[in-house]
Amino acid sequence: MIDVVFSAQLALAAIAAGAIYALVATGLNLVYGTLRLLNIAHGDFVMIGAYLAFWVFTLFDFGPALSLPLSVITGILLGLVTYKGLVSTLTQHSAHTDRLESNSLLAFFGISIVLQNGAALLFTNNIRAYRYFDQVITLGTMSITGNRLLTLVISTFLALATAAYLRFTLFGLATRAVIQNRDASSIVGINLPRIYLVSLCFGFSLACVSGVLVSMMEPISPIMGFGYGIPAFVIIMLGGLGNLFGGITAAFALGVVETYGLALAGSNYRSLLVYGIFILVMILRPEGLFGKSQAAR
């Protein structure tokens, strides 16, 4: 038991879990940070990406080389539809704006129900999986399946790319300004609707891409979204809502806690552990581990 806990193997597993969480949570955080919309359906976009990859692989025998770009396009389309149908309605009607956050929650709750049951209707409730690139690769004392390594590499690259985009491009700078203070950025001439649209598409694409990566390793089902959406919420609460870099740190922290917790307690307790951490975080530090106290809203 003890040597399992201290093995490099488990550490690698924790990092791999953290990397995929970081990717899912960054998308959720980007949407919350800029639009102040809590997207409960975020996990279901992961599910859409996973089904996309599954069908691309089963029907056309293509791996992530095709499904990754397709998932980005899907994410952008979903972002466009959401922006047209939901965001413009929610932000324009004056009756909505004072209850924007609860209304967006309810609307996304409805979307989540539609997506989950739509997927069950189209693809049945059967749990599906496919094998892709699952030979074991040995690195010194650690061994890892190829698809897990690929996931680790791609999600690290994407997290870094997102960070670079926000840090070094003008549009990224504008996005961070909107996250910090919406009204002030509007006054200095930042085009808010454009930032909203791009952030939605970016965030949804990240979710769909995560779905493609996840589908190589985990079984796929219409309700799999909860398994990623809820941890993503835990992470962005821990890292501070809208704080992207805090979120990435928190993602790896959750990856470590979950991997080690399950190694010690057994994998039956995954849901219990994730929801338990979720409740504790929400009650003890809703402003996040790195956040300033801003819970009173």
Binding site: L38, I40, G85, L86, T89, L90, H93, A95, H96, R99, E101, S102, N103, L105, L106, A107, F109, G110, I111, S112, I113, V114, Q116, N117, G118, A120, L121, F226, I230, F233, M237, N268, Y269, S271, L272, Y275, G276, F278, I279, M282, I283, P286, A295, A296, R297
Partner: protein, 310 residues
């Protein structure tokens, strides 16, 4: 206030109540089943409105109170009198709401909403783990009362929930809750004990769902943690309130009528289509008809009235 207690409203309520109470005397079992369905949703949604409708704090997890009521009833079944095991379910739900609500309600807005969802899922998985550890696949409930008695119990629950909502809404306590909904900081400033009020309303709104969960257990005769803690229960309560519009007893009645009509026609044959439709209705009403059916009716009546004047 005058519209609620007007003699016409009272008369209509009494007639509805008498009609509903007489249903088991002339209706067959399927009709009683539809009646139960309607009463359950009126009871649950009116309870949900007592807290979420009045305070504006949306609870995505009210299914947990329904579930815990059913579970406690199942645990105590036959070891105490029947009524006591159902009552214990209601008490357990209220206690859970108090214990969970006090810390939860210090956080506001979206945090609270997410918390209620997390909490209900957490309790569900705890119960599932306990049942798995005890190696019990499901619990059989033997010796439940006949269908018409169960029907009248549900009728009592629905009536209780509607009266509770009407009384609280127009009380000093209810005004406090609505002040919290409009502006919590201002409400606190003028001396409303907001945390105490919210926790109390949360606990009150949990009692009837807890009792309904226990009675529902007697009806189904079988406990399965997965189904009794089903998040769909929470979803349906919310849909009824959002579609009905506003926060009055009429909201719960109108919304339940619509949803039960929908579920009676669709749920059995096309459960997935029904769920998709429910989701679409929720999105549509939140985005396009935030005033709900009641608001629409009021607008139409207003328009007809004005046309009549010309």
């Amino acid at each position: 206030m005058s519209t609620l207690w007007s003699s016409r409203t009272l008369l209509a309520s009494a007639a509805t109540l008498a009609f509903m109470a007489s249903l088991p005397l002339w209706g067959d079992d399927p009709a009683i089943g539809v009646g139960i369905n309607l009463l359950v949703w009126v009871a649950l949604s009116a309870s949900w409105i007592v807290f979420s409708g009045l305070t504006g704090y949306i609870s995505l997890g009210h299914a947990v109170f329904y579930g815990i009521g059913g579970y406690v009833t199942a645990l105590l079944w036959l070891s105490v009198p029947m009524w006591a095991s159902v009552a214990a379910g209601g008490v357990a739900a209220a206690l859970l709401a108090l214990v969970a609500g006090y810390p939860c309600l210090r956080v506001r807005g979206p945090y609270f909403v997410m918390l209620t969802f997390g909490l209900s899922q957490f309790v569900k998985f705890v119960v599932i783990e306990i049942e798995t550890a005890l190696q019990i696949g499901g619990r059989l409930i033997i010796g439940a009362p006949p269908l018409d008695i169960i029907y009248w119990l549900f009728l009592a629950m629905a009536t209780g929930a509607v009266v509770l909502l009407a009384v609280i809404r127009y009380s000093r306590f209810g005004s406090g809750l609505r002040a919290i909904r409009e502006d919590e900081v201002a409400a606190e400033t003028i001396g409303i004990p907001t945390v105490k009020y919210k926790a109390l309303a949360f606990a009150i709104s949990a009692i009837i769902p807890g009792l309904v969960g226990g009675i529902m257990l007697m009806r189904s005769g079988y406990l399965e943690p997965d189904t009794i803690f089903d998040p769909t229960v929470s979803l349906t309560m919310i849909c009824i309130a959002v579609i009905g519009g506003g926060n009055t007893p009429a909201t719960a009645l109108l919304g339940s009528l619509l949803l039960v009509g929908l579920s009676e026609t669709l749920w059995v044959r096309f459960p997935l289509v029904y769920m998709i439709l429910l989701g679409c209705l929720l999105v549509t009403f939140v985005l396009a008809v935030p005033q709900g059916l009641l608001g629409l009716l009021a607008q139409w009546r207003h328009r007809l009235h004005r046309r009549g004047e010309k």
